[in-house]
């Protein structure tokens, strides 16, 4: 008897490159648009979420979950920052930024009403539309939750189109968790399982302590019908991939978001080249089987 192949159809489930979302960027890809800082919210000691308003309301840019913008702190420089807002509300841009260098520090020191230059959106996105009909596992570590948040918004807005949805999020300590209130709200939903873990915690912490990979066996997903979106530090992603493969997922069911030193955002300058791909243009989201040989290569 011939058995039906019940595996998710991942043949076309490559990362999405929707030309519509690139129209604005394509018009003036190298010219930053002046956006106004509408809100600045401190997430952790060194991480802030900026809400930016376009020069006029009709200038809002459509984006797909997982894409990024080049943010320009005037007089200091540009940095690639993932979009962390809701793709169904494109009239405002939301970016979560960790102050680690000159540019990101300058961005985080903005005041409400300040001006930031924005180029984008750039890059490939999480295959949220192509993954419909499957269970979804989102695995985020540290700041990696920021580029995944638009995908979560997208899934929750179209919740009925997916099977089980689970989120695993790891951080260093409870103080380092991003979007804490939102995590709590998501955790209260009946149609979503959220597992939060930290590396160490004070006694009043009620959730998990340990690494994200330890939580994968606790998920209730059908490995045969699951698509996983993974974003976090390289080591975390590597071990998460390994654990998911042990769990029964195939390489083509896994998607990772890579971080590289990006400059132009258009695949022209070569700063973000990783073997045969440019992370800014071909990524940052990649199907794992298409990038694995380069992702784990030590000499590049």
């Amino acid at each position: 008897m011939k058995t039906e192949d019940r595996r998710p159809k991942t043949g076309n489930m490559d990362t999405l490159f929707d030309p519509m979302t690139h129209l604005a960027a394509a018009a003036h890809p190298m010219a930053p648009q002046p956006y106004t800082v509408q809100n600045l919210r401190r997430e952790t000691a060194d991480t802030f979420t900026l809400t930016l308003a376009p020069p006029s309301p009709e200038d809002g840019v459509l984006f797909a979950p997982g894409q990024f913008n080049m943010l320009y702190a005037l007089g200091t420089g540009e940095a690639p920052i993932s979009i962390s807002g809701d793709p169904d509300r494109p009239h405002l841009l939301v970016h979560t930024i960790r102050a680690v260098g000159n540019v990101t520090r300058a961005l985080c020191h903005q005041k409400v009403g300040g001006i930031i230059g924005v180029r984008g959106p750039f890059g490939a996105s999480w295959p949220v539309a192509a993954a419909q009909g499957n269970d979804i596992l989102v695995v985020a570590g540290g700041l990696g939750l920021a580029p995944l948040r638009p995908a979560i918004y997208y899934l929750l807005t179209r919740r009925a189109a997916y099977g089980s949805v689970e989120i695993i999020y790891g951080a260093r300590t409870p103080q380092d968790l991003l979007y804490r209130r939102e995590l709590e709200r998501w955790r209260g939903r009946f149609d979503l399982r959220v597992h939060v873990t930290v590396d160490s915690a004070p006694p009043e912490w009620k959730a998990n302590v340990g690494v994200v990979t330890a939580l994968i066996p606790r998920t209730r997903l059908d490995p045969y019908h699951t698509v996983a979106f993974i974003c976090g530090p390289g080591v975390m992603m590597r071990f998460t991939v390994r654990e998911l493969l042990n769990y029964g997922l195939k390489e083509e069911q896994l998607f990772v978001s890579l971080e590289r030193n990006m400059k132009c955002g258009l695949g022209m300058c070569g700063h973000c080249q990783l073997g045969p791909v440019f992370v800014c243009k071909d990524g940052p989201v990649f199907r794992y089987d298409r990038i694995k040989d380069w992702m784990d290569r030590r000499e590049v």
Partner: protein, 151 residues
């Protein structure tokens, strides 16, 4: 006496263990319940019990004399606690506190060791599981030591 066999057989630690072995070890066990805040064990206390957790969440803590307790791991349904209890001298190295209502089967370590001495096949089966559990613990501990999310 309460029949613990189905409870033990259903636990991931004993997955695949032949029913005759489950039957052998069940008399070493007792059902235990801990309310939130209750300690399963304290550092330096004699370690005579091996906990097979069925429900709840347990925080494994290290007490720092100036900083108070810090949770370094949590255990929940499907985990075990007390594997170091098999090593002589039998003392707990850490504190373990129930974070929420926790139900477990506590197995008497000396009783287990005695059964293993009597039936080496059982001993081998338990040792395999013990080694696997240790390997997993080492792996996750190494990852945790990396401070992956640090700057």
């Amino acid at each position: 006496m309460e029949d613990l066999e189905p409870l033990l057989a259903a636990h991931p630690f004993f997955q695949g263990l032949a029913p005759r072995f489950i039957k052998l070890i069940a008399p070493c066990g007792a059902r235990v319940t801990f309310n939130a805040g209750q300690f399963l064990c304290h550092e330096n206390e004699e370690a005579r019990l091996f906990f097979v957790i069925h429900h709840g969440r347990v925080a494994v803590e290290i007490y720092r004399h100036r900083g108070g307790p810090v949770t370094i791991q949590t255990l929940s349904d499907g985990d075990v606690l007390g594997w170091l209890g098999f090593l002589n001298p039998y003392h707990w190295h850490l504190d373990a506190r129930a974070v929420e209502l926790t139900r477990a089967v506590s197995l008497d370590v000396l009783c287990l060791l005695e059964k293993c001495e009597q039936d080496h096949e059982l001993g081998y089966e338990l040792l395999k599981r013990y080694a696997h559990y240790l390997a997993v613990q080492f792996r996750v501990t190494k990852l945790q030591l990396l401070d992956m999310y640090g700057k």
